[in-house]
Structures are given as C-alpha cells and as structure tokens.
Symmetry: C2
Subunit: 436 residues, 2 copies
Amino acid sequence: MPKTRQQNQNSLYLSPVITIVIISILSPLSLAAQPSKFRRAPRFVGKLPHLTEPPQRQQRQQQQQYRYETRYFEQRLDHFSFADLPTFSQRYLINTDHWVGPNRLGPIFLYCGNEGDIEWFAVNSGFVWDIAPRFGAMLVFPEHRYYGESMPYGSTEVAYQNATTLSYLTAEQALADFAVFITNLKQNLSAEASPVVLFGGSYGGMLAAWMRLKYPHIAIGALASSAPILQFEDIVPPETFYNIVSSDFKRESASCFNTIKESWGELVSVGQKENGLLELTKTFHLCRELNSTEDLADWLESAYSYLAMVDYPYPSDFMMPLPGYPIREVCKKIDNAPDATSILERIFEGVSVYYNYTGNVDCFQLDDDPHGLDGWNWQACTEMVMPMSSSRDKSMFPAYDYNYSSFKEECWNDFNVIPRPRWITTEFGGHVWELF
Amino acid sequence: MPKTRQQNQNSLYLSPVITIVIISILSPLSLAAQPSKFRRAPRFVGKLPHLTEPPQRQQRQQQQQYRYETRYFEQRLDHFSFADLPTFSQRYLINTDHWVGPNRLGPIFLYCGNEGDIEWFAVNSGFVWDIAPRFGAMLVFPEHRYYGESMPYGSTEVAYQNATTLSYLTAEQALADFAVFITNLKQNLSAEASPVVLFGGSYGGMLAAWMRLKYPHIAIGALASSAPILQFEDIVPPETFYNIVSSDFKRESASCFNTIKESWGELVSVGQKENGLLELTKTFHLCRELNSTEDLADWLESAYSYLAMVDYPYPSDFMMPLPGYPIREVCKKIDNAPDATSILERIFEGVSVYYNYTGNVDCFQLDDDPHGLDGWNWQACTEMVMPMSSSRDKSMFPAYDYNYSSFKEECWNDFNVIPRPRWITTEFGGHVWELF
C-alpha cells in the first residue's frame, strides 16, 4: 500500500500544522528534532550530515538531470535598518531551460533556500525539476544567508564568530533577501508580470508560507512542504513531533516500538556498570570510546527522527543512502534478529540501516558537537523556539518535559543570546491559524 | 454644500492612491509635501509646526473631551536582528472608559502614531473618540519611535546624532513596535480574542494600511486616511500632489490660482532688484531681513500645501488656528483686495489667513531649517522616497522636475545616508495595487 503509506508519512507534520498548500513532494524535514536526551533539553538539530559539504558523489550522479548556472547577488546585511554594515554575496542557482519567457508570462518557481548548502537542496528537490517543463517555468534557488557560500563578512569563521556577527541570521532577513532578489531578477529580465510561486520544505517550507503571507505582491502562491509553522509556543502540544515519529515506528511493528522504548533503560543500566561504556562502545562499533551514555542516546534518537523524515516509499539518498520504506527495514532488523539477541544488539542492527546501509562503514563516529556554532542552533536559540516534549506513553523516546528556563540557559551558554520565544507568532501569526 | 466640499477635500490624495478603507475623518495630511523651491528639489516636510511641543492651549481646552492615561512599554531597538542594542521606552496613551471588556470581545482601536508627538495626534483625532462609545472600544495611541517621548538612546540629542543612531527609524521597525505592543497588551488584559482595528492619517495611514497587509493575524481592518502608499517610484505621476493642491485653489477661484501662479515670477523679479530682499521683508512683515527669495517661496508654498491638507468645512486648530473652508478665505483675501493692490501684497493678505488668523502675530519668522535633523527628513532620505514634480500648466507652484540624483546628493550631505528608492515597493508592494 505504497500510497497510503506515503500519505501516512506525510501526516508526520502536516495534519494540524500546514496552511496554504501542502503536499509532500519536496525534500524531507531537514529541520530535524533531536529527541530528548537523558538530562539535556531536546532541540532541533539542523546539524545536517552534509551541511557544509554537498555530497559530491550524488552531485556527479545527478549532474545530467539537474543543470543550473550559479550566480551571485549583492544583499544588504540588515534590510530593516540603515546601519552601515557590509553587504554580502548571496549565491543562487538558476535554470531557464524550460522558461517560456516574459511575454508568455512564464512563471518563476522560487525554492526558498533553507539551512544548508543550496546545491544539496537543489539536487534533492526533484519535484520542481519535474514540473518546470510542464509549466514553462524558470527555476531559481536562492541560498539562505549564513549557509553554504552565502556568507556575510566574507567567511564562515567571521560570520559565525559571535552573537554580534550572527545577529542578522533571522528568517525575516532571509525573506527580505528573497524579496529583493526576485524583484531585481524580474526587473533585469523585464519579467515583472511573470508570476512567482514559492517552494520549500521543512524550515524552507516555513519560509515559503511566511513569504506568501508577508509578500503577497511578490508571490501568488506557496507550496510549503512539512513546514512546522505551528510548532511555536503552545499552538500544538509539545509532544506532537515525537508522538508522530513514534507512531511511524509503531505502525510498522508494535514490538519494534517497544524494543526501542525499552532500550533507553537498558542503555543506562549497561552504561552504569563497570566498563559499561566500553561495552557500549563495542556493541555499537564506535571508533572511539564512549564518553557518556547521552552521546550514544543522541546518536540513536537522531537516527529515528531522521528516518521518520525520510521514510520515502522508494530508495533515496538525501540524508543517507537508504532503501525504500527505511523504517520498515529498521524494524525488520530489530524484530527478526535471532531470539538470543539482546535489546541493544537489536538496536544496533536497526540503526545500521540508517548509518550503514551501504555496509561500507567499519566503525561509527558519533560526532556529537552539541555546542557547535552551526546556523540552525543559532536560529533555534533566537527565533525558532519550538517547545518539544517526549510523552511517557505515546513516545518511544525517553520521556522529557520541555523546560524553557533550561533551554534559555543553554542558549546563553552556547551563544550569549536570549531567545525570543513569542516573536515568531507576533511576526507571522499562528494562534489564529484559520486566518491564513 | 459642506458634504460635497468635504468629499472634494478628501480627494486630495485619495483618488488614485488609497486602498483598504479610506475616509477622511482623521487628522489631515500631516505628512506635508513641500512645494518646489526655485532651485532646490522639493521634498516632504514633516517638520510640523507643533512637532516637538503639543499645543498646550489646545490640550487644556480638550482635556475634558480627550482623557487618557499615559503609559510606557519597553521595545527592542531592532526587531529584526539580535544585535545587542539598548531597548527604549515607547509611550502610549490609553482610554478604556467605553471598553466593554474581553468577555464581550470589546474591540481595540489602535491609532498608528506617526511623525510627531502622540498627544498632539490623539487630541486631533476626534473620530476615534467619537465612535469608541458606539463600539464599546478601547483606544490606544502608541507613539512612533524617534518622535515625542519615544526616544531611543535616552534623548533626542543622542537619537538624532548621526546616521548610526538614526538607523532604526524605519516604518518596518515602527510596525513591529505596534505588533509587539498590542500583542503584549492583549495578553495582559486576557483580551487575545478582542479584534484590533487600525487607524491612521497621512504617514500614519500608510502605517495602518501596511500593518493590515503585513500583520493580518493582528488587525482585522485598517482605516487609512489620506495615506499616499502609491507615491513611490513611478506608480502615480510625480505631478499628482501639487496638481491636486492647485486644483483645490482653482476650484475656489481661477483668479486666485492665477495670482498665486504669477506671484513666483514677481517674487524673483522683486528679489533681484536693488534692496529687493528688504522690500520683500517689508511686504511680508518678516521679523528678520530675508536672506534669499527661496526662503520666502518655501514659506509660501508650505502655507498652500498645508491649507489644502486642512481645508476642513469647519473651524479647526490642527496645524494652525483656521476658519472653516480656509482655502476659500485665502482666495477671498487674494481676490477681493482693492484694485491697486500688487500681486505680492495680495499674496501676503492671503497667507495671513494661514499664518495669522488670530491676528496676534506682529511679524513672521520664516524659521527655515532645511537641514534640521528632524525625523521625517531622515525617513524621506532613506525609505520614504516620494518623487514629486510641479507641472508647468496644472500646478500653481513653480515648475519643477523631480531629479533623483540631486535628491540623493542632498541626502548624503544632510545625513550621510544613501536612499533606497525601491525598498518600500519591494517590502509593501504598490505596483500591482489591485492585489491589496
């Protein structure tokens, strides 16, 4: 029942959350929710596997299919003040192969670049490439500021140096970048009358929805895929995300769900034994000895969350090379191991589908860098404050109650910044979503 | 025919310009267009007569009618970045006398503070006070940042020091101030469900219209009075404003229009004579000897423009104490002087209706301060770039062709800032105004 399953997968975020137009043909939820740690507050990851380096292999494979020119556009660092700040160069990709031109009002499909290298998103957004010929559309992929090559202050090092240099990494500024960019592009092409349609997935989908709301004179429509624009304040219950991820697993197999749910306690009890961390290091084939059980838990939780986001009915290679229906494959490994297999060995077999589907990995790097100054963590600590809990019953993740105070403290420690948890709903709405 | 005349007055800016909802019950166009000088480019004045000091006399008179509490609300200086900037205290006036409260969904009427002291606007916006009882509405008047008491950096001196301190004086920031303010107020009053309706005149009307566009989740409607939201780029012909002012005079009397139109040449030729400036000083009863003919021309042009903006059918005291139909009164003075009266003497008699209706003024201060660092001039030099020309035939003002280059140069000299003439239409639209 591939169709049903695909729809179920889509319901991951879509049912209560989405407005405008939503279907799930774009990139998966790259905006991942990192499940709760044992002691630390959960927060969205954004620390994508290929964040800084687009997968070269994949690019080579797809070069034939996804052809674009790379160009650059000069942007103000702050659109909303006249402070004397350096401009920066925004990268964008453009394909006009199928565009029927301004006289025939050829549309412009604008993919709202999100928290990563734009080339990676462009070659993983097959839908817009597929439909461009049918609509005689131009494709443009402006990159999001502070990601990929679109770096203010000339380099990632300077741009990510501190809260002052990072302070212009906001959604409103990114939307204004898109607005100024597309207005200018249309003028240059004498295509003022060409309609613009926005596309985006996950955070990029939020941008698409918000841009349609804030710039109705610029875009006639938006396709916001898997865009959690209602995951703020108390609009949806904080358990929503992990409940849905968990139900994706439960649907495949109740025993799979239960094994995962039991594994956290097992993890803790093994970790507390003498030489327990060494035992876990061996069980999970880690390259370096484990420092704490939490690091391993993070790594496992990430796998489950990402798996739910990319649970496509066909083989794909967005986050990782994966088979079709990857959750089903994970659960098969967990459920079908020989009877004597321990819970943690089952878990290892399961997540290997995610981390090692090709079978080429000899040992695993947890690569846990919770304080890394990556862009999404900054955004999560400033505007994108999304309360997330893990419920005791419906979630297979360790139980966790969202705690704003500790989140705020963590942000202060990481970035010297105080979050503005009510700003997004003030600026973009959300509470009265019938209004959209 | 008071009704017809009132409607004509309204047409000053309204016919091609206004969207949303427009009627003219609010304050007149405080956003005045300074007519063309002989050599200098014209630009909006904003330098309102009572800008810094609300008229005390008027306030005392109206205290009974307009009662409000004065409160303050802490605002971020930059809503759209996380730069570490000092907050400032936004003043607002509030009246809840007629509010039926949150349970009965009592509406909130929000007057969008514009370029001046909020008390002055509040006591000159009779309409909202008149209708509040009928709607059971609360009235709030948040002051615009950088005006009145709502001064960043603790004082006008520091706030207006240079382009850096002024850089957060923008319309987008002001709208965000209103959004944050009203969201917070409603929460404090448990009045989240109470509808908000925006009101504003002139620049404040632009803010009302733009706020309804950008914050549909916050305001269910806007009454934007005399709001020139289409006076940008080439959306309306640049001659529009002065043509309409001129037609207001022509409608009263063709000879009045002609006398004014002829007076500029007369002014120049007298000014060029030996002792000509002294002669003009005497004719116009100036307190100090005239430095240049332009200064006098500016003063006259301001009077005509403001007269058109406050050509109410009843006596009023917004800009100046004036009779009802003040343009008619001006033209009577110009037309009905004894036959031997010179053109310039007629002009003096005419503008005395504006500058000296009470008859208490012995001599006139031109008070020309074209480089004064007042807020509106900054706004006009940054975002509010409104091209204005004076046509050779339809305008009674000296002919002038708008020249962006010289405007830009003037802004650089005055403020060390480069205007962004396309920004407002990018941010708020305007070209395709059917969309509104």
